[in-house]
């Protein structure tokens, strides 16, 4: 039986305290939950935002950068911080992570898509959790400030994922979006997340293509 592939979309701002520092307990909990999901036999990939936020913090900038060029530079600094953060917390659970930087224009090149898919598969065969981010420093597209739902969708399509899981806010709420967007579900807390992912996998619901839950406007329509 093919393993379930789950894309987890994380917005770093949901893991950062008001003082700009990373919330250790929440990062730790996240690493634990994702490692456990992976341990239980699912293929897990993380799409994470946060390079610009972390870069700004590291450089002690007063304001968020406004020019494209500045944003790209700050993102370059922040990406190093981001992967270091994930490595540190996943290390506690002996889980190896990898950094994958993509540009969204990849979708126009079938060969590159295929290559990327192969890389993802190889990483997951090696029991590694890829941490994926937009390669802002070299991207020619306008950088949307820390919004990577489109990236999560792109990755889900490339990896032929079964679910996208979106960490919604500071308080442990997640939205589970199954492939085909047949039913989406909001869960509270990591235990419920794991339980629901396991039961979702076993139930094929082929009803009308209406999400059970209305997607918040900021997310838009997630169909993959």
């Amino acid at each position: 039986m093919k393993k379930q592939t789950i894309i987890v979309r994380i917005e770093i701002s949901t893991l950062i305290n008001r003082d700009g520092k990373v919330n250790r307990r929440k990062m730790d909990r996240l690493a634990m939950v994702l490692t456990n999901l992976h341990n239980s036999g699912k293929l897990v990939m993380v799409v994470s935002s946060g390079a610009i936020v972390l870069g700004s913090e590291k450089l002690k900038l007063q304001n968020v950068p406004d020019s494209q060029l500045e944003m790209q530079a700050v993102a370059a600094v922040g990406q190093a911080e981001l992967i270091r953060l994930y490595q540190h917390y996943f290390d506690e659970y002996n889980q190896i992570v990898a950094q994958v930087l993509l540009t969204s224009d990849i979708i126009h090149h079938p060969q590159r898509v295929k290559n990327t898919r192969n890389t993802f598969n190889t990483l997951m065969d090696m029991s590694i959790i890829p941490i994926i981010n937009e390669n802002d420093p070299v991207s020619t597209a306008d950088i949307e400030f820390d919004d990577n739902y489109p990236l999560a969708l792109l990755v889900a399509k490339i990896a032929q994922a079964d679910f996208i899981v979106i960490k919604m806010d500071l308080n442990g709420k997640y939205m589970i979006v199954p492939r085909g967007n047949i039913r989406a579900l909001i869960v509270d807390g990591e235990t419920e997340l794991q339980e629901k992912l396991e039961s979702f996998c076993n139930v094929m619901i082929l009803e009308e293509r209406k999400p059970e839950v209305e997607f918040p406007a900021s997310i838009g329509e997630i169909v993959f």
């Binding site: 036999g41 659970y93 002996n94 065969d125």
Partner: protein
Amino acid sequence: MDYRDVLKNKHRIVVKIGTSSLSYPNGRMNFHCIEKLAYVLSALRRRGVQVILVTSGAIGVGAGRLGLTVKPQELSKKQALAAVGQAELIKIYQKFFEEYNQTVAQVLLTKDVVNTPSRNQNAKRTLIKLLDMDIIPIINENDTIATYEIEFGDNDTLSAMVATLLDADLLVILSDIDGLYSADPRSGVPAEIIHSVSEITPEVEQLASGAGSSFSTGGMVTKISAAKICLKDGIDCIITSGSDPAIIFDILQGKEIGTHFIAGHEKMINHV
């Protein structure tokens, strides 16, 4: 008389947890279970109960870590996996117990240590010292260096021998079965859990090995033999499922959970 009442006054307990509870089928660790176990045992220790944990799973964890799906047959390979897995296992235990401010220690034993008087007294002193320091020792077989002559072979036996060595008053064996059944639950014949056993007679042993049926968990045979070691030494023993470690709280409240092998009774009592 409710024989379970004696369970309310236990001061030094050995908890043995099996691979099936601790790990997923692929050998990787089940953090839900480990977190719950850490919570339960830390809470008990805080209440003043001395707790010793006997863990399994090192070889499976090592295999999971190295991406192996089939357990190797070759001894040195198994031992190598055990070395990798034991390190990971203890690190993870430390991490989860730390959440509850509970210090743990690693103690690796082999049969020769436990069976040799001078060496076992030394091991006993170390373990008692740890208990006095409010530390929970996590014991495993030293699979990395154990060879046939000195291995226990199964942690059920190891846990019973640890219980006798330390003069414990209870051994709880957590595994993938709710208790000893009166018949094979899969045979279609109505089978019920036997709630108490005070003497391990040939009939009891036959139930465990499932004579006449294909029901041999294999595991149950070693559990019965572990219970036998306990009863000989006057130690109560409970066998039940480890899917929710919080069951230990219920056991210590004297609730009718699993099969209770009652220490210190002459007659055989079978409650169904």
